[in-house]
Amino acid sequence: MKYIDEFRDGELARRIGNRIAAETNTGRRYNLMEFCGGHTHAISRYGVADLLPDAVRMIHGPGCPVCVLPIGRVDLAIRLALDHHVILCTYGDCLRIPASNNLSLLKAKAQGGDVRMIYSPADALTLAQAHPSREVVFFAIGFETTTPPTALVIQQAARLGLTNFTVLCNHVLTPAAITAILESPEVKELGSVPLDGFVGPAHVSTVIGSQPYEAFARDYRKPVVIAGFEPLDVMQAILMLVRQLNEGRAEVENEFSRAVTRTGNLKAQALMTDVFELREYFEWRGLGDIPHSALRIRPRYATYDAEHRFALQTRRVADNKACECGAILRGVKHPRDCKAFGTVCTPESPIGSCMVSSEGACAAYYSYGRFKDVPIVAHAGTVASVAEASQTTGSTSPSACSAA
């Protein structure tokens, strides 16, 4: 497919990898965070990490809306489906998020709740028109990429005068989350999470532009390179970050210039401003309460706000004790550090949210990398001797493993 295949060329990826290796031969380390789940997924799926030299460490960021959604919000949606008997519409990613009482939206559906998976917010509006006697609630989640379509359907519902359509809004903001990471004690004071630069969001930036990241380069001296979600985009962005760090620069650069401008999509921004306003604070799984990090529906659209219509109150619910999602989302821990990972917590039956979405750090590692770090043990009858096996572990490009 045009504008996709060209950005997945394996030979070019290897060459860019070689260039990164050549330019990181400086004795220092490069700790880079990819903020987006889309990048986390691309890095795991295409074996990007295996093409990088040891000096480059990729830290997975919290830019996966499913992963950062607190349990209390999912509980609200489940109660709407089971107690208020609404038609609850949401994106497929949200259906398996584990919530209180061992429930998820999918299990609520099994218990008789009318939960519908939709592709587009427009589908929710269509459902509301088709079922005028039922309450239809759209459980909206996502960063700035997904927010403008939600704003549009709220405006549309108002224009159509629908009385049975509401939105349970969980839209969150990227720059606020990056600030929270940079201000976190692990990064700011303790230094336990060294962070030298960011691979900046792809599609979020098509909406908000590259301008909002300029403060991170200026005030925190962290370079940001906005990158597309294809593997060559990610590799090129890493090379650009390495060059900035080598030259002592901290700037916002745009690798995804084919779709991102400095100002972004002004029409979409105006729409969001018309429909939404900032919440004073919002709870993020793993990051806690972050001020001004999420959106709620403005009072003039209160008729379309499910929190208003059903007088909903969000309850705080603690994560499963065994789950390390919080620390993983802050870059403090790796999925392999979690005892639940791959044992009781799998994509089929997730305990923590990072295992739910394919963009979550745990799901990506489970699907594409979990055998990479397993020590090779030779048993009688196998061909490889222990010595040979340990040699191969050292030199393997684990992409061989993901290809297997």
């Binding site: 050549a22 994106y91 592709y119 587009s120 379509p149 549009l152 098509t206």
Partner: protein, 107 residues
């Protein structure tokens, strides 16, 4: 979640709607977030809405940049350090890894 794909606009419809083509698959989408999109342009599609245009000249420039990095001389030592495993070595490691995977997943 933020997944989006470049699609080709093939037909404009009423109410800011359009038919797009993605590798032979045709779908009706909304252009309500963009102004003045024309047939033949590529747009980035997310949950049924075009979020931005795709600039073909910029795409070409980025691809040229990749090619340039690829051609640039790579010191032998660096190349050797990262990915100079020969084909036979690679297949051997693959076998070893698969074996390890089987051992690990066995109870």
């Amino acid at each position: 979640m933020c997944l989006a794909l470049p699609v080709l606009v093939v037909q404009l419809l009423d109410d800011d709607r359009a038919v797009v083509d993605l590798g032979g698959i045709r779908k009706e989408i909304s252009l309500a977030l963009l102004d003045g999109v024309a047939v033949g342009e590529y747009v980035i599609l997310h949950v049924g809405y075009a979020l931005s245009r795709l600039d073909p000249a910029e795409a070409q420039r980025t691809l040229a940049l990749f090619a340039q990095v690829g051609i640039a001389a790579v010191p032998q030592s660096a190349a050797a350090a990262s990915t100079s495993t020969s084909a036979s070595e690679a297949s051997a490691t693959q076998t070893a890894h698969s074996a390890a995977a089987l051992n690990a997943s066995a109870p």
